[in-house]
């Protein structure tokens, strides 16, 4: 329980996990639909794999953690990929290879290794959902900025009055890095201020 609290991202800055998922965050944040699709995939993959790994933690030999964890995560990612292809084919096209690459992403793996492999299901579920929702929030925030200001559109619908003022660089590769850096800096500042206030109250 203590360990889980340590790993829980709500109790410490996101700096630990964010660099690991920076790739898929930037890749899917050019469009709000892609960001939400990827967010759902991250939540489901992290949550389902954490539950299964947590349930099997006593059976899995410590030397075989890495391959078994990755295979479990890959199984769930394939399942999510198939479901999304059936119901949201456009989103799968937008995400491309990044949806499959989620299987070997360090985010569900580190979550599984640090929390699910050592804790009971309830703690694991809480941490997995926190991780998933944090990434979804960051992706949606980045996507809102990049799509509205870079593409002058939202949810694929163009915003006429913004068309002349759009900054097309924001929807490109550099925009991904720039917006994520700014969003992360803002999150950090808010987190630091909240922590200072809490410490002051205590």
């Amino acid at each position: 329980m203590k360990n889980a609290t340590k790993s829980s991202i709500s109790h410490k800055e996101a700096a630990y996990l964010l660099p690991l998922g920076a790739g898929f965050v930037m890749a899917s944040s050019a469009d709000l639909r892609a960001a939400l699709g990827m967010g759902a995939a991250v939540i489901l993959a992290t949550f389902l794999s954490a539950v299964v790994i947590s349930a099997l933690r006593k059976i899995i030999p410590s030397r075989a953690h890495l391959p078994i964890y990755i295979l479990i995560i890959t199984g769930f990612v394939s399942l999510i990929d198939m479901m999304m292809q059936a119901y949201f084919p456009n989103v799968v096209n937008m995400l491309g290879v990044h949806l499959a690459a989620l299987a070997v992403s360090a985010v569900p793996y580190r979550n599984a290794e640090d929390v699910a492999g050592e804790n009971v299901e309830t703690t694991t579920i809480k941490t997995a959902l926190e991780t998933g929702f944090l990434f979804t929030l960051i992706m949606v925030l980045c996507a809102l900025i990049r799509e509205v200001l870079g593409n002058a559109s939202i949810w694929g619908v163009s915003i006429e009055f913004l068309k002349d003022y759009r900054v097309s660089a924001l929807s490109g590769v550099f925009g991904g890095y720039l917006v994520l850096a700014i969003v992360f800096a803002v999150i950090r500042t808010i987190h630091d201020k909240t922590t200072t206030k809490k410490e002051g109250t205590d």
Binding site: A22, M26, A27, V104, F174
Partner: protein, 182 residues
Amino acid sequence: MTADVIFGILLAGLLSNNYALLHFLGTGAVIENERSTKKSLLVGLGSTIVMVLSTLITWPLQTYLLKDVPYLRTMAFVIVMLLVVELIHLFAKKKLEAYCKVDFMKFAINGAVLGLCIHNTELAYGEAVLTAAAVGIGFTLTLAIFSKLHSRIDEESVPKAFRGLPVCLLCAGMMALALLAF
């Protein structure tokens, strides 16, 4: 394959086809890299070998076996990657541990390798293998550049909110912008 094509693929792997910076695959591994240049080169070389060997196996697997069962592709490719990494780990464990204490298995299994294997199935076999080698070299160079970059960023002169990951992301963004010109 003509010399022009070979040269083009190699150059693209280094510049316009840079997976970590332009395709956002394996970006986490690069941004997180705080190893010395020598260690980065060694780890990058290992990743390049994983990329080439994985492509050598996954291309025929996709072309001859998985064409009718596309839903098994990710699982099959990941199993191949795991086997290749385990094999390299088995043979080069002592050397890797002597040069740098890095969990090579965790590092080498990343989005860049899987993404590359998936992208390469659309090319001819020879081109796919050459692309894998070129992308691997590009990945290694990016790792080495980032290791130098980390040591040169003067954290004191960076605003507090931008220290650490944000400034690294901005540096990576500027590198990506430079590569986009090609």
